[in-house]
């Protein structure tokens, strides 16, 4: 029974990993561009949730959507003002631009919100449900379900809709897409908006359960990279599987071997998998 509890906890955590990693993998798939500020987007999503709760007094639906919307706008702004220009530059400029953006966002958050740890006050999602002896915190349960739903929705958007086809067309061949009457800038701005929006809503969901400070983005950023690499760069379903697998492995190894070993186990398996399958679980070789 205890083991089942550990497994459920791991999967719920993994689902949230999947949600915030799906945005990162989307940008990679669209533009071959690594966004080092992705963890900071998650962090900002958490603070947007806090601001909405403390100033407006909204519930989880309000702060979740608020964070998604605010970060969507931020993603579009970041694309139009920064990314659009640096993609024409050398590779190094691309990497360093988002790295710089990460630092800018992190220290702006230090300046505005101070270094103190904060957490959301009790919300309607603060309780736990007891499902046949398995205790599931409502917040994590909702976060997990929303995360899986959104990740699947993002996948369907890309794979099944005309909009998705246009997004992928730009990713495939920018010039050919332009000849077909698609405006690549608009599509890529949208991709950045979706990516940041997913990170924002993931942050808002995490904020219900975890205390955080402006430096929390470092931890999330790293996890997101591992999830994306394991799932296969550019693959949204890959990010979903990889997120769940990593959450599960972390929980099981922490339970069986002790918490200090959990990251060793995760990264050892990660390295082993990349050795066998460098493109990741669902990545294209």
């Amino acid at each position: 029974m205890l083991l089942l509890q550990v497994i459920v906890g791991g999967l719920l955590l993994g689902a949230v990993y999947a949600l915030f990693s799906s945005g990162l993998t989307l940008i990679w798939g669209m533009m071959n561009f690594i966004n080092f500020a992705h963890g900071e987007f998650v962090m900002l999503g958490m603070y947007v949730a806090l601001v909405v709760v403390t100033w407006i007094g909204g519930g989880p639906a309000a702060f979740g959507l608020g964070a998604a919307f605010a970060l969507f706008v931020l993603g579009v702004v970041v694309y139009l003002s920064l990314i659009r220009h640096v993609v024409r530059g050398p590779m190094l400029a691309q990497i360093l631009s988002t790295f710089g953006l990460a630092l800018l966002l992190r220290y702006s958050a230090f300046w505005i919100f101070s270094a103190n740890f904060v957490s959301l006050p009790q919300t309607s999602l603060s309780g736990t449900v007891n499902l046949a002896g398995i205790l599931m915190p409502v917040a994590q349960l909702v976060a997990g379900v929303v995360a899986i739903t959104l990740t699947v929705a993002l996948h369907l958007l890309l794979a099944r809709t005309a909009l998705g086809s246009r997004l992928l067309a730009v990713a495939e061949d920018r010039n050919a897409a332009m000849l077909m009457g698609i405006r690549p800038d608009r599509m890529q701005a949208l991709a950045w908006g979706l990516s940041a929006g997913a990170a924002g809503i993931a942050g808002a969901l995490m904020a219900i359960a975890y205390p955080w400070s402006p430096s929390v983005g470092e931890t999330f950023g790293l996890t997101a990279f591992v999830v994306v690499a394991l799932g296969g760069f550019g693959s949204v379903p890959g990010a979903l599987y990889a997120g769940l697998i990593i959450g599960l492995i972390q929980a099981l190894s922490a339970y069986w071997l002790g918490p200090v070993y959990k990251d060793i186990v995760v990264y050892a398996l990660f390295a082993a998998l990349l050795w066998l399958r460098p493109q990741g679980l669902l990545g294209r070789a």
Binding site: L13, A115, N116, S119, L135, S215, A251, P259, V260
Partner: protein, 418 residues
């Protein structure tokens, strides 16, 4: 014309200032280099301590006769150095031991500080003190608790705070007291973050528990940057210890309390080894789910009108918060350092070191619940001690030992139950 005269005045002023500075070297300032984590995981604690150090410097630099026997409060500046004032140079090591080492070197070689104070995380104090020892600059360890910081044969390192073994002994005395009054304490569990601080305190508790004949059901080391601790809480749930002692930093201790609530795990008692449990963000985050959680503190606000009460009011006016134990221990170490600087009467390193070694502060000269401040040959304060406090409502009350208690101990803890 106007411009030349202005220039002349400026030049004269500069000359005067220069002459003044040669004529009275004593009324200069003494530079104290302070290393704390001002950003990063433990930034909140670092910032709180920074405010405390600034307040302590303000108390030393200006006359505060209302603060009783607190050393250097009555006078402005350091009287034995012609009223020299304390100048603080803060640096941020972000909780990174190698950065702490570099910054200590920079403070000594470039900023030319006279003494050093720091460094919160034991791992950072460990590296930074080694630099001070190499350069022969006195280093006051404000509040880091790991055993191995003193006891390396260093001459230049002093520590005002109680250390891991003092705390461990306190916990065991408390358990023995509880057993005498009929409370069952079969076994305890220790959950510690896995850097120098958590490891050394946990080691000390294991050793003292053995002596006190209390069995340790499980010991769980973990990394303080964990984003999920459910597996650890489930391990505790399985072992059913009567008391769980947490040696944790801020985010992780909040996360533990929330996870315990979520997984419906409530042991008879939770004891936090200060640090995370004393962080200003801890109470607002978990007050409604961690009622009765215990913590240690050598700091108590005291009755209105007392010196400690006045210090707390000043701190509150500055920061909007009550002074916490961590910052207060740093502040106490700061006062002990300032007292020694004054007795040294000069910034000659050997003289400062000798004055520190001869420190002998009495309980009434302190703001903390120590028996005094007196350093042994390793630089450790041998008169340091601590109280135990318990979360009642939205504040900690002093509950043990009985002679000092301001409220009655609640056992078992209520947690989230009403």
């Amino acid at each position: 014309m106007k411009r030349t005269s202005a220039l002349r005045v400026a030049a004269l002023a500069a000359c005067a200032a220069f002459l003044y500075s040669i004529a009275s070297p004593a009324a200069d300032s003494v530079k104290i280099g302070i290393l704390w984590p001002l950003t990063g995981n433990a930034a909140a604690a670092g910032q709180a301590s920074k405010a405390a150090a600034e307040l302590a410097a303000e108390i030393v630099n200006h006359a505060h006769p209302e603060l009783g026997d607190l050393p250097l409060a009555k006078t402005a500046g350091l009287p034995n150095m012609g009223g020299a004032t304390l100048e603080l140079v803060f640096v941020d090591h972000q909780g990174n031991p190698s950065l702490a080492q570099q910054l200590a070197t920079r403070l000594i070689t470039q900023d030319k500080v006279n003494v050093l104070l720091g460094a919160y995380q034991s791992s950072c104090s460990f590296t930074a003190t080694a630099v001070a020892e190499r350069y022969g600059v006195p280093f006051m360890v404000g509040e880091s608790a790991a055993l191995n910081i003193t006891g390396r044969g260093f001459r230049w390192v002093f520590r005002g705070t109680p250390i891991a073994s003092d705390y461990a002994r306190t916990y065991m005395r408390f358990f023995t007291d509880m057993r005498k009054s009929g409370t069952t304490i079969g076994s305890i569990a220790i959950v510690n973050e896995n850097t120098d601080y958590g490891t050394s305190v946990a080691d000390a508790i294991v050793a003292e528990a053995k002596k006190a004949d209390i069995s340790v059901a499980i010991r769980i080391p973990y990394s303080a940057s964990s984003s999920d601790v459910s597996a650890q809480v489930l391990q505790l749930k399985e072992k059913k210890p009567d008391v769980v002692i947490f040696i944790s930093y801020t985010a992780d201790s909040i996360l533990y309390m929330k996870t315990m609530r979520n997984l419906d795990y409530r042991p008879a008692m939770v004891i936090g080894d200060d640090t995370g449990f004393s962080d200003p963000s801890f109470i607002p985050a978990v007050a409604d789910i961690a009622q009765g959680a215990m913590n240690r503190s050598a700091w108590a606000i005291g009755k209105p009108g007392s010196t400690t009460y006045r210090i707390n009011e000043m701190y509150k006016a500055k920061t909007g918060r009550d002074l916490d134990d961590t910052s207060a221990r740093n502040m106490q170490s700061f006062f002990a350092l300032a007292d020694a600087l004054n007795r040294a009467g000069s910034t000659d390193p050997e003289k400062m070191r000798a004055a520190l070694a001869q420190t002998d502060l009495k309980p009434e000269q302190l703001m903390m619940g120590y028996q005094g401040v007196k350093f042994d040959s390793t630089g450790q304060n041998v008169l340091a001690a601590t109280y135990l406090i318990q979360l009642h409502g939205s504040r900690y009350e002093l509950v043990w030992p009985d002679r000092a208690a301001t409220a009655k101990l609640q056992w078992p803890m209520k947690g989230w139950t009403r």
